[in-house]
Symmetry: C2
């Protein structure tokens, strides 16, 4: 395979001329071989024009062709072999096991959407038969189907170089819906992006699809992303990243002549509630599981447990003692980029200096490219008085909020912004208290879980990876799981159409 | 029944103290008996607070209770009897037959949603079974359902005093989804609104629901509506009205701490394409059907055919000749309000004065409260050069765009904004030309119809009354038909929940 730093447009490659960027070894900050040329305004224009052209045929591909195309992308990604894992390890600092798992998730996700496409339920076909004799007016023949929105701009995510980047969940669900995709690669893993982009490009060619069905662009600043979202031919956006980035895209959309859906997954601190009896009976086990979840992947998951709510008790003290015992043995971990490591370090420093917050324990110190896990504690009163304590610190940092009682814990919940997940740790004896909170938690997050942590995100029909603003820009949707396809569809009704005129699925 | 000008809040009535407004006889501009007190900020606050309280229980009503409640609203509306029709006739100037039909549509719509609730499909229940033995990690138990968004603010529409006002489509679908509703009555038919509001209030009491499930507020300006949309407890908005009104609500939502979905149905000129062979073989019949659709209800339908696209031909001349013969016999019709009549009159005057537009024919002149039908003609080149010719003139006004050929007609389509409907008039011989346009038309509108006009909107499962911006604020939705319920729902996933904790439908 070749990484040569090309933009992938028009079924071909071309050198971007608007500046250049390098893949950087996450562990050392050293530039990796090959520079990547940034896309110009003309490149964006070409990619969206071709995506629009491709849309005409791609939207009407039969389900089998489209499903097989998704499966070919999966096979082509597998065919890259170890080069992909090695490059991704270097660019992201993530370990081999994690990246191999993520690759499996990525290809599994493509195949799951292939299955969803074949089943065809997403088309939402509906038929209301005519009744010419109905009074006072005859009943028309009405048929409905979902149609794809149009070309989709997908922004690669730093923290999932495979599963939420070039051929990740947003791309898979948009292609499954019948939408061409223009990807803006994340600058933190350009080589990984090019390898996967070439795999998608090969799949487009093998399936005999219009070359505009897929494009991959590099951006040396923010202009490519901004231009994409503002482009009239782009009809939806998939994004996973920071709150600042997501809200900037929402603003661009709202200022378009025709605003478009922006599916931005932005920020979440994923509250975990330890109920009194759970802590009383198994605080050490909970602490061990919590620490594992907190530091998984250097804490760089959207669903990382950043906020712990518990009632003041011996059980909580036992939990804290156990965490204090475990954390110092946790090694520092390479973070995705130097700037993410620095932002994490700054966020931890803000908590350390906060007058109302005290440090519980730290992991082992590391280099400037590594993150050192950190656990803090504060009181409910302080948390409620200091809104900045809700700010996500992306990485392995957690804040325990010690509440006087369940009523105060509930007030803390009332003060929270929208979240991706909320986890409840309970025993049978906590069930009634937990049950009372469930309706409130349903309003707070897209996924609720019992006696676990949100860091594992199953790719399946019943998954919701989404949640009320600001967890996502649009809390009516999910970016993981088969329901994600509905983000890129809209219903159209056909009245009294002749058989010739009807789209094939409605005949 | 009593109309006394009360706000309906907290299961009771109260006099609004923020100014007053009167129902006005549409035909004469004369104030009708009873003044209506405008709601204050405190009234809005009380209504939304109670709606939020009611949400806790209303969202979890079992399907049968909720369905029966919707049916009771329908019966209570019927029980008002002729007083409702008489008052609505006076306030809106619409004739008895239309209002009786609209009442049937309103109650039919409530009963259709009751059926939809009983069937329960909208809950989108999904079950992914656990697999504790899966490698490398056990598969969790995941279950999904849709939950209601929360209290909904509904804005009554001037042009559907029953079917899109107090207990109209937005209210029926929001209540069906499990959302309490706070209605801002349209000031053009306050008495009608109060009568229907009391019917809903009685149904709430009969069903034993929390009194905050429904409220009706009058607004002497714009403050009530603005406050409602800005209120943190309101979680979605249903609106049918002007583009200015709809975009103002979108802006308020975007500035909220937590933006909410605004389902605003705003403006559409509903292009009608007469294909060459259709005009060649049956221009006079098409003209007769067109004139009937144009002037139906004084042209005050969102789906009124305001734009006619056709290729220059003898057939088109025959169509125009026939329209010119028919229109002068069309009597002026009372419009919904004096200001709507004035806006229509101004819009017609703008077209009359437009240098690129010529008058084809007028209906009979009338009073200042009546609208006189008007049909105009322009060229494709002029239409493409003058964007203002796309502005909706709400009422019985149509603009014919004469195109040189189908290629030019297609360019006109390319220049159009999003629409609710597009109608195609064809014969067998036009089918191939029409078929080529269908993909383009699917991107342009929410409903496409053949050999008819969009003015009849069926309330059924396969209906889409929606379309790309600016036809609506959110082209992924419909405000008519059973799919409308999905506007007020979002998915939540439950992972490894115990039976006790699971919401009843997921057990």
């Amino acid at each position: 395979m070749t990484i040569n730093g090309s933009l992938l447009v028009a079924g071909s490659e071309k050198r971007g001329t608007r500046g250049e960027l390098y893949g950087v070894e996450a562990a050392t900050g050293t530039a990796l071989p090959v520079s990547f040329g940034g896309a110009s305004a003309e490149d964006v224009e070409q990619a969206t024009r071709l995506a629009w052209e491709a849309f005409a045929s791609y939207r009407e591909t039969d389900l089998e062709t489209r499903a097989a195309f998704l499966e070919t992308i999966a096979s082509e990604i597998e065919a890259i072999g170890d080069e992909l894992i090695v490059r991704a390890m270097a660019e992201t600092g993530l370990p081999r096991g994690r990246l191999e798992g993520e690759r499996a998730r990525t290809t599994g996700q493509l195949r799951l959407f292939a299955k969803e496409v074949r089943e065809g339920r997403f088309q939402e076909l509906r038929f209301d038969g005519a009744d010419p004799s109905r009074k006072p007016v005859p009943k028309p023949d009405l048929r409905l189907r979902n149609v794809p929105l149009g070309p989709v701009a997908v922004f690669g995510a730093s923290n999932f170089p495979l599963a939420f980047s070039v051929a990740g969940g947003d791309t898979a669900s948009a292609l499954a819906a019948g939408c061409p995709v223009v990807v803006k690669a994340h600058s933190a893993h350009p080589g990984t992006s090019e390898l996967v982009g070439r795999a998608v490009q090969r799949a487009v060619a093998k399936a005999g699809l219009h070359a505009g069905t897929f494009a991959l662009l590099f951006d040396t600043g923010f202009e490519v992303g901004q231009k994409l979202v503002a482009d009239a031919r782009i009809r939806a956006v998939g994004f996973t990243g920071s709150r600042r980035g997501g809200t900037a895209l929402m603003k661009i959309s709202s200022e378009r002549k025709q605003p478009i859906p922006v599916y931005a997954e932005m920020s979440s601190i994923n509250p975990v509630i330890f109920f009194p009896n759970a802590l009383k009976t198994r605080a050490p086990e909970i602490a061990a599981a919590f620490v594992s979840s907190l530091v998984l992947g250097a804490g760089q998951f959207c669903t990382n447990p950043g906020l712990i709510l518990a009632v003041d008790s011996e059980g909580l003290d036992t939990f804290i003692a156990k965490a204090r015992e475990l954390l110092p043995d946790v090694g520092a971990q390479t973070m995705l980029t130097g700037s993410i490591a620095k932002a994490f370090c700054d966020g931890v420093a803000r908590l350390e200096k906060h007058p109302e917050v005290r440090l519980v324990a730290n992991g082992k110190p590391g280099s400037e490219f590594e993150g050192t896990a950190a656990l803090f504690e504060t009181t409910a009163a302080a948390f409620l008085a200091h809104h900045e304590l809700q700010d996500e610190v992306f990485g392995a940092a957690g804040l325990i909020v010690r509440c006087r009682d369940l009523a105060e814990l509930e007030r803390v919940l009332d003060g929270l912004e929208g979240q991706l997940t909320v986890a409840l740790h309970i025993t049978n004896e906590d069930e009634q208290d937990a049950k009372r909170l469930v309706p409130k938690l349903e309003m707070l997050a897209g996924r609720l879980l019992v006696n676990g942590f949100g860091t594992g995100v199953e790719v399946s029909p019943a998954m919701v990876h989404g949640g009320p603003y600001p967890a996502t820009a649009d809390g009516r949707s999910t970016s993981v799981g088969t329901l994600a396809i509905y983000r890129f569809l809209r219903p159209v009704s056909y009245q009294d159409f002749t058989t010739t005129l009807l789209p094939a699925p409605l005949r």
